[in-house]
């Protein structure tokens, strides 16, 4: 069930890959614009690179999350899916995992942009990959649920960020801290603590949102 739902969402994303390129361009443009807020101070830019990366990712995520449910709203596709003997929970997890994959790829694609623009590289690539995976997992779990909710409401472009941004403050804090530690060095060995916070958030929200999603789409 989960695999079928996941396959459907990944296929949808693959067929709409132009959208992904556009969202990447949005994220890269955001990274470029953030540097204008600081000015051409290369030291300051490097210091804030982690924060900029995650802000760009967060802003871009609202686009891709909203998009993922936009397609289900056309011609009552969601109602059709709910009639399948699969259960709403598997639909949720399929979509959340697909969104996670998309956001993680977006994050990985934005890293070179960050390195070039802010001179903020790291050699601990595996750790960086881990932080990106954990952070985007934290964004996609509640994001998918809220996107499913707001897609059916009026004023969805405003509502999704309004509900989503305050909620993911811990993800943003922990991911920014962890990324900055990787870029700027981690003399106190704090990386583990932030990664644990991300893991805790992920575990709580992947289970809680899966439980609640059925109630959101039922009627």
């Amino acid at each position: 069930m989960l695999l079928a739902a996941l396959r459907k969402d990944l296929l949808l994303q693959w067929r709409g890959r132009v959208q992904m390129v556009a969202i990447f361009a949005f994220g890269a443009a955001a990274l470029l614009l953030f540097s204008f807020a600081i000015g051409p101070d290369s030291l300051a830019l490097r210091q804030h690179a982690g924060g900029f990366l995650w802000l760009a990712l967060l802003l871009a995520s609202t686009l891709s999350l909203a998009e993922s449910f936009e397609r289900e709203m056309e011609e009552g596709a969601l109602e059709g899916l709910l009639l399948l003997p699969a259960g709403a929970r598997w639909l949720y997890y399929g979509k959340a995992i697909a969104n996670w994959a998309q956001l993680a790829m977006l994050g990985i694609a934005l890293v070179p942009v960050m390195v070039v623009l802010y001179d903020a590289g790291t050699l601990r690539l595996l750790s960086l990959l881990g932080v990106i995976l954990l952070g985007t997992a934290g964004l996609s779990a509640p994001g998918t649920l809220y996107a499913g909710m707001t897609a059916q409401a009026r004023g969805r472009q405003t509502l999704l960020p309004l509900l989503f941004f305050p909620l993911v403050v811990p993800v943003l804090l922990a991911a920014v801290k962890a990324t900055s530690l990787l870029i700027l060095g981690d003399p106190m060995g704090q990386l583990r603590a932030w990664a644990m916070l991300l893991i805790a958030f992920d575990v709580i929200y992947w289970s809680l949102c899966g439980l609640l999603f059925g109630r959101v789409v039922e009627d």
Binding site: L145, P166, V216
Partner: protein
């Protein structure tokens, strides 16, 4: 829908709350001694700390209402949820404003990224967003379920936000407990705490009635149209 005979308890609670607040505030402002280090600025504590307690209490009540709604599907919990959430947002917003007023003369800045302050600000936005969601959804059944779900998700977030910000940065003074607060400060603080408690429970009860009336109106079949169709 026949309106049941409405009790006057909420109005009485509001009146009692205002009376308590007047007594407590007069006590705190005029009779209690000034604090040694902070002087008269500290007197904002007599509203600030009770506001904090009651904001948390109102939001916890909203969370309980959301849980009960999801399990029982009874409308009355949705009405209470709406009222309690609005009250929680108002109290949290007041909390931020009072905190800023106190922080400027004490810390020299309006805002500080301390865990409790930041968490309260996040709370205002998280629950304010849910109120916006309620305003944007016309179908009362969906509105009720969605806001209950969003309320649970946001409430679970509160401790995580608190701890993440705490690790991130800390400056706020440690929580005061009855042991660290001089006896002279106790009474105005307690009286105001109960004053705000009575005030908000009364207002929430009144707001619950309003919410019930609105949903009853939304769920009722439009009478004109059925008659017009018959003719």
């Amino acid at each position: 829908m026949t309106a049941p005979a409405q009790s006057r308890t909420p109005q009485a609670l509001v009146a009692l709350g205002v009376a308590f607040l007047l007594v407590g505030s007069y006590w705190g402002l005029a009779m209690a001694p000034a604090e040694i280090f902070m002087g008269d600025v500290q007197r904002i504590m007599y509203v600030h700390v009770p506001t904090a307690w009651n904001a948390m209490l109102a939001l916890t009540f909203a969370f309980v209402c959301a849980l009960f709604f999801l399990f029982t599907n009874a409308w009355k919990w949705d009405h209470r949820l709406e009222a309690a959430m609005e009250m929680g947002v108002v109290l949290s917003l007041l909390l931020c404003i009072q905190g800023a007023i106190w922080a400027k003369p004490t810390w020299g800045v309006w805002w500080d990224w301390d865990p409790r302050l930041t968490t309260t600000a996040v709370l205002v936005f998280a629950f304010g967003g849910i109120l916006a969601l309620r305003a944007f959804v016309d179908d009362p059944a969906r509105r009720a379920v969605w806001s209950a779900v969003a309320c649970i998700i946001a409430f679970v977030d509160v401790p995580i936000v608190y701890f993440s910000v705490k690790w991130w940065n800390s400056l706020h003074q440690a929580q005061s407990s009855p042991e660290t607060v001089s006896k002279a400060f106790h009474w105005p603080l307690r009286i105001n705490a109960f004053g705000i408690l009575f005030l908000w429970t009364g207002l929430v009860a009144l707001r619950t009635r309003l919410a019930a009336l609105r949903v009853a109106g939304e769920l009722a079949p439009p009478p004109e149209r059925t008659q017009g169709g018959a003719r």
